[in-house]
Amino acid sequence: MKLIGHIAAVILLSAVMLAQAPLDPAKLLQLPTDMWPMAQGDYTGRHYSPLTKINSTNVNSLTLSWVYRANPGSGPAGGGGATSATIKGTPLQINGVMYLTIPDHVWAVDARTGREMWHFSWRSKGGWHIGNRGAAVLGNTLYVETPDCNLIALNIKDGKERWHKEICDLEQFYYGSVAPTIVKNHVIVGVSGDDLDIPGYVESHDPETGELQWRWYTHPNPDDPEAKTWPSVEAMLHGGGMTWGPSAYDPELNLYYIGTGNPQPVIAGRARQGDNLYTESIVALNPDTGKLVWYFQASPHDTHDWDAIEAPILFDGEINGTRRKLLAQASRNGWFFVLDRATGKNIVSTEFVKTNWTKGVDAKGQPIPDPKKEPQFDGALVSPNQGGAVNWPPPSFNPDTGLFYVNATRAFSVYYLYDTDDKPEGWGGNDRSGWSEGMLEALDYKTGKVKWVHKWAGNGGVRSGLLSTAGNLLFAGDNAANLIAFNPKDGTILWHAGMHASMSNTPITYELDGVQYLVAAAGDSLYAFAMLAK
């Protein structure tokens, strides 16, 4: 008994030691193996793992290892509780500890056992509690945004707060939901909110003190030529372009990439004629200064709420026989773009689902919106709908197959204008959705052509993130609470497991003690699968 006691003490100590182990920043520059150190997995945002212990020949041996149910408690609203406990963020796994988030809450969970280690709760002052996309860790500190516009730094050892800084103005209807990104000594954060007409921005904070290092607004300076894409400075300074999606980073080019959201007013665009730069754009910034290096606009003058915030995916590939540094995005507007990520020059622009809102592409490869498909007082039938051909759940790029995987939706809705004023504000309209169908697609990055497609059974789009691995596997969720493994080469289904709800985030994988785990969230629960020794 005494021996067992000693062993238990050693195990307990090990767990505590693990919880204290900081994140080596060098891990952020590597493909994820024993960790999942950032929400995107690594700076490329590919949601790809080189692990092969779980592979297409043995995936049928996966068993449930543990389930962890996140319980935010029953505190009063605004006090950290009473929020929807849906895990949308991609968890981190660092030195055997998993960190997961929902709005106002962070948990540390033993990645081997699913046992809770600590729980942090934030007393909220408001803001949209629509979801939290995840946290970031540097050294001993975890960084997370709150709906009431704070960036919080926690000690990863015990979840105690180190500091918090206001990153946006709740009174102007901003809110926080974004997973911060660590680049060198920068904690880079985005902001959310499009109820009123406010400008979007990205800003960087000092990891130790939280002090603001730089802020880049998603609009030009009034004297820049791009300012002419707005009818007035006032319209531009209230023109939206939130930065609520994931980002990527190329250390060789020292460029930070992020997509920007919809212009504002959202639906009624007649008082903001023009392309409305830099809304709905993929932009490259210098992460040390916040200066814009290049931009590519996915949806000039959007009036459909088609944020171009979807994950920018970085990979190197051959284009016409030349090795290029590439960036790809499957955008909410239904278009797939491949760019040269050093220059922003367009290489591929093509629909990955059929749409009806463009008149082709311009010389820069940017779609040309059809004015007839802008929202109308009596309605315009538009595809895709406001939810988009994709939304926030990230795609995956697999370097082994050279294919870009996306959970796509084909949908129609009618877009209406409500605001008859000469100067609409807010939204000024909306769509009413009707019909949609979902499909998992594999795209050839060189052409954007669909290599294979798996139509999901039943109607409706599917919102789940994707993960592919060197084990010749592609993991996705459907609308019927299944976590599914596909053969990424041809879309053949190899394995599935039922969960209590449909997958609500993006699966991750990591290897600990020689065991590869696969972890996905469904609603308020994390499910971990593995091939465990008997």
Binding site: G78, S124, L196, Q376, L417, G426
Partner: protein
């Protein structure tokens, strides 16, 4: 449920609602009587520069987008601001400033939630005859529907906006129809019933006798789903917006 519990429940649900909304939880509660009084104050002192829609003009900024107004609570920010700024009334009473605050916050609330209106101005802009022609011609609507049968007097039953939504996006349940499925297992005869649930792995149906049956899908199990609305979904790719408006006009004329 006791009254006190009901009040508590209402408070909790209201708080939960507010916590899920944009902006701060502790926002100014709008007093409608004060809004009306504040509108009068606005019309007397502010409208010339800030405009009839509060969105500004050549001589004054937009007050819905004003950070001072957004941060104001019951006049505590706009009162001092007006005192400091040239050309603003200095003799407003405290009560008038509070009323003005209520009016301005009501305009902000209305703007920040203006996506929620479900009634567009007027969707009845099409041509009845063109809609009838499409109904009997290119749309092939008359193949399944009749203006004297299932669509008789439909213009009296639904508003134009609902007519538009219902013909574009009919739902199985709303039309009293069901999606049929036939499952043919590897060894056994085909079974037809009403589709209850389907994914890549299982299909469930309720047969004519009301029995609930689930089948594991596989290469030797044939599954045929017959969506009664498939033709409607295919039409979504074919409608022009003019077709859409003309059909609404035609359906609305069926009275």
């Amino acid at each position: 449920m006791g009254r006190r519990i009901q009040v508590l429940a209402l408070l909790v649900s209201t708080c939960a609602y507010l916590a899920g909304q944009a902006g701060p939880t502790e926002r100014q509660s709008i007093d409608n009587a004060a809004v009306n009084r504040g509108r009068t104050v606005y019309a007397q002192y502010c409208i010339n520069c800030h405009g009839s829609n509060v969105k500004g003009g050549d001589n004054g900024p937009d007050l819905i987008r004003s950070v001072v107004v957004l941060r104001d609570r019951l006049g505590n920010d706009i009162g001092p601001a007006m005192k400091k700024l040239d050309g603003h009334p200095k003799d407003l009473t405290s009560a008038q400033i509070v009323d003005l605050s209520h009016f301005l916050h009501q305009r902000i609330e209305a703007t920040s939630s203006n996506r929620n209106t479900n009634q567009p101005p007027n969707v009845l802009t099409g041509n009845v005859e063109a809609g009838k022609t499409y109904f009997n011609g290119a749309g092939k609507c008359s193949t399944c529907h009749s203006p004297t049968g299932d669509l008789a007097r439909i213009g009296t039953r639904y508003t134009p906006i609902n007519l538009q939504q219902r013909f574009l996006f009919p739902s199985v349940a709303r039309g009293g129809k069901t999606t049929e499925v036939t499952v043919t297992p590897a060894s056994g005869k085909a079974i037809t019933g009403t589709l209850v649930r389907i994914d890549d792995f299982d299909v469930s149906l309720r047969d004519a006798g009301g029995e609930f049956l689930t089948f594991r899908r596989g290469p030797n199990v044939k599954v045929e789903v017959r969506d009664p609305l498939a033709a409607h979904h295919e039409l979504l790719d074919q409608y022009t917006d003019a077709d859409m408006h003309n059909i609404v006009a035609y359906l609305e004329s069926l009275k």
